[in-house]
């Protein structure tokens, strides 16, 4: 990733985590040059629950330690690389993949990391 502060390019998997090993799944990384702490891809990507409506996005990662939740997400056909469009965010999230529509709650949506596509 590129450091948001000093612009240094580094491999986030090789540097120490921001929170000093609290073992949470936040995956924050610390720039080895200026020690600025940030989430890899923050700014460019976000989770599905915060995605702008009607904007095509691509799933980049599924982030949940709970395998049962992961399976539910996979069962809907949401995988890394899947393109989707959020149609509604409240009271539940509604999104479209191809011709199919699905609805999930906020907790599941938080586990789906997406980035703008197209």
């Amino acid at each position: 990733m590129t450091c948001d502060l000093c612009g240094f390019d580094f491999d986030e998997s090789k540097c120490g985590t921001a929170c000093g090993g609290c073992r949470s799944s936040c995956q924050g990384a610390r720039c080895p040059r200026c020690f600025y702490e940030a989430l890899p891809g923050a700014g460019a990507s976000g989770t599905l629950d915060r995605l702008e409506k009607r904007r095509k996005a691509k799933v980049v990662k599924l982030e949940t330690p709970d395998r049962l939740r992961l399976k539910k997400i996979l069962a809907l056909g949401v995988l890394p690389g899947t393109e989707l469009t959020v149609l509604q965010r409240f009271p539940s999230i509604v999104f479209e993949i191809g011709r199919s529509r699905f609805s999930i709650d906020r907790e599941l949506a938080r586990a789906i990391r997406v980035e703008p596509a197209g």
């Binding site: 599924l62 395998r67 049962l68 939740r69 992961l70 399976k71 539910k72 997400i73 996979l74 069962a75 809907l76 056909g77 995988l79 890394p80 690389g81 899947t82 149609l87 509604q88 409240f90 009271p91 539940s92 509604v94 993949i97 191809g98 011709r99 199919s100 529509r101 699905f102 609805s103 999930i104 709650d105 907790e107 599941l108």
Partner: protein, 659 residues
């Protein structure tokens, strides 16, 4: 000629939910089908017999399956059928419009070494959407027969029969088709394959993939049969996860990518299809209105008011019941029954069994046919219309947040709404909920605070002249629903509910679907309740003749007066024990004689709504949740109904709201 016993071949029909599996099943088998619980579960599986290519075949209609690794009990049953019963053929039905989304399951089935026939159903809708499918290309790539059908019109079903006949011949062979997975997974699979016993019902490769994907059932079987291998593979899996994260993601990605490549080869979409017709735009707009909180709740209120209050309550429970009850039974049939039985049975005692105050004909049959039947039919009719339109999943997402507060996910809205028709049937439907905790909470709420249509119809008719009384009744019952739901969510342990659901497109309900669903449910309902009505009448007659009934009424008169009701309501409470709606109908009789003040009417309606479920629902609670939970729920409803009725009576007397 000596009789030759011919082995019956099994053909399993599988696929995603809402792809027309059951209609196709009916096309193949005709009308003769048996529905039974899958051994050890509460999931229903439909089996039918037919002759294909001169051989008797058993066709099995399995519950909907999203992926090869099951999440719910229903999905688990579908997989147990295809793996455990070794069907000669697996017919995978897909929605031709969503080929790319459904092909990954086909690929998993092929990898498991199953003999698959792929059915592209709903071809009419696909063609209308401008989709053309190159069937030959698909057949070539997958190495299995592919058939195009429209199950609702029967188009292509004859072709399917011929292919089934060909494929079930001894010559019909299994052609596997492997999907290339992530290199790390491939090396895990190679290692695991060599050590797995061949008796898991599928290829060692597919078993190894399921193990890698964390499949619970295969994991358990492995631990039981090959504990050493299980321990070894557990270590390998940990290393695999360290390197590539959860393997199930990579496995799904591999199937998805190959399905996409297949679809690119076989699908041709006319670009014109992108232009949406006026009708499609309208449907999409409507779909958004139903799920937007600002428009969704007013739409819900409109549906409740016109569909349920006006159609079921005012028309069904009012007008139609009045015609049947007053004009048919009280004026014509009951006098006819009484005259005929005076002639047939001279003994007054025995005559009472049939035509007395609680007679099998004059009470049991009258309640069942004149009061309950019209209300329940109208409810099931409107419910089928709403169900077929695709509105229920939209209601589920609208209500999910509110339901989370009472420990349920939006999915539970389906049994809850059905409960307003028949709580017993709704309790059975709770099995579609994903966690035990959700099933227990919804069973409690159904038993306690959801009045069934028969009850609701009578209560609405009773209170319709008193808007204040109606408001107090509805407010109290809704309050109890939320409070008990909230408390259950706090007290009952288990994992928190997660909401995920597919939203099928909204569509105009099909008359044939609606009528079929209404008919099947009505048949089920009467099969369950008519015997109970008759038995209850007979029991009450027996109780009356032997004096037990009057003792019980005297015993009940105390608690009844304690909640501020006249002693005449004691028999109603007793009737309510047999069936809540039966009790409600009894209340209707009392109110017609002007025996109750408005305040007493409200208290009686509240008590009866919250009261112990009818015998059928009690038995269903026991069947679904076990004896302890069944008895516990009954005790809870008894305590809550009397407690709330007592408190409400005190409150109404103190505030003088109705005086």
């Amino acid at each position: 000629m000596p009789s030759v016993s011919v082995e019956v071949k099994k053909i399993a029909v599988i696929g995603h939910p809402n792809v027309g599996k059951s209609v196709l099943f009916n096309d193949l088998t005709g009308r003769y089908a048996t529905v039974s619980n899958y051994p050890g579960t509460t999931v229903e599986v439909t089996r039918g017999e037919t002759v294909i290519g001169g051989f008797p075949c058993e066709i099995i209609d399995t519950p909907g399956l999203y992926s090869f690794s099951p999440l719910t009990e229903e999905e688990a049953v579908a997989r147990r059928i295809i793996l455990g019963e070794s069907p000669s053929l697996v017919v995978h039905v897909v929605d031709a419009k969503g080929l790319e989304r459904m092909l990954p399951l086909t690929l998993a089935l092929l990898e498991a070494g199953l003999a698959v026939v792929l059915v592209l159903n709903m071809m009419d809708e696909a063609r209308a959407a401008g989709i053309e499918i190159d069937r030959a290309a698909l057949e070539e790539e997958l190495g299995v027969p592919v058939v195009e059908t429209v199950s609702t019109t029967g188009e292509g079903v004859e072709d399917l029969r011929q292919i089934l006949a060909r494929e079930t011949q001894p010559g019909g062979q299994r052609r596997g088709s492997w999907t290339e997975h992530h290199p790390e997974i491939e090396s895990f699979v190679r290692e695991a394959e060599a050590q797995l016993d061949p008796d898991y019902g599928l290829t060692a490769r597919a078993a190894a993939l399921l193990v890698a994907g964390g499949d619970v059932e295969i994991g358990k079987a492995l631990e039981e049969r090959q504990p050493a291998t299980a321990a070894f593979l557990a270590g390998r899996m940990e290393a695999l996860q360290q390197r590539i994260g959860a393997p199930e993601i990579e496995i799904a990605v591999a199937y998805r990518d190959r399905a996409a490549a297949l679809a690119r080869r076989a699908l041709r979409e006319r670009p014109a299809a992108d232009k949406k017709t006026w009708g499609e735009k309208f449907r999409e707009g409507l779909s958004e209105w139903t799920t937007h909180p600002l428009t969704g709740f007013p739409i819900l209120c409109l549906i409740l008011y016109w569909g349920f209050y006006q159609f079921v309550g005012v028309f069904g429970a009012g007008t139609v019941v009045d015609v049947l009850e007053t004009h048919l039974f009280e004026e014509r049939l009951n006098p006819l029954f009484q005259r005929s039985f005076e002639f047939l049975i001279p003994s007054e005692l025995w005559r009472g069994l049939f035509v007395g105050e609680y007679g099998v004909l004059t009470l049991g049959l009258r309640y069942a046919v004149a009061i309950i039947m019209p209300i329940v039919s109208f409810f099931f009719l409107i419910f089928a219309v709403i169900e077929d339109s695709g509105y229920l999943p939209r209601l589920a997402l609208l209500i999910d947040r509110l339901f989370k507060g009472i420990g349920l996910s939006g999915r539970a809205v389906i049994p809850m709404v059905l409960g307003f028709g028949c709580d017993t049937m709704a309790t059975m439907v709770t099995r579609t909920l994903p966690t035990v905790r959700e099933r227990v909470i919804s069973t409690i709420l159904l038993a306690l605070a959801i009045p069934c249509s028969a009850q609701l119809g009578v209560i609405l008719a009773l209170l319709s002249g008193h808007p204040k009384a109606l408001a107090v009744w509805a407010g109290t019952v809704a309050g109890v629903f939320l409070l008990i739901g909230f408390l259950s969510a706090q007290l009952i342990p288990g994992e928190k509910p997660v909401f995920y659901m597919e939203l099928p497109p909204l569509r105009l309900p099909k008359a044939s679907n609606v009528l079929l669903k209404t008919w099947v449910r009505l048949k089920w309902y009467f099969h369950e309740i008519l015997p109970l009505f008759i038995a209850a009448s007979a029991l009450i007659w027996l109780g009356e003749v032997t004096g037990v009934f009057s003792v019980l009424i005297r015993l009940l008169a105390g608690p009844v007066q304690w909640i501020g009701l006249p002693p005449e309501t004691a028999p109603v409470v007793l009737l309510g024990f047999f069936r809540r709606d039966y009790g409600a109908a009894g209340l209707y009789d009392l109110a017609k004689q002007n025996l109750l003040t408005p305040a007493q009417l409200v208290v009686a309606c509240v008590a009866l709504t919250l009261f112990l479920p009818c015998i059928a629902q009690f038995l269903m609670n026991v069947k679904e949740r076990g004896w302890r939970a069944g008895l516990g729920i009954s005790a809870l409803t008894l305590a809550v109904s009397f407690g709330v009725a007592y408190a409400l009576n005190q409150l109404l007397n103190r505030t003088g709201l109705f005086s």
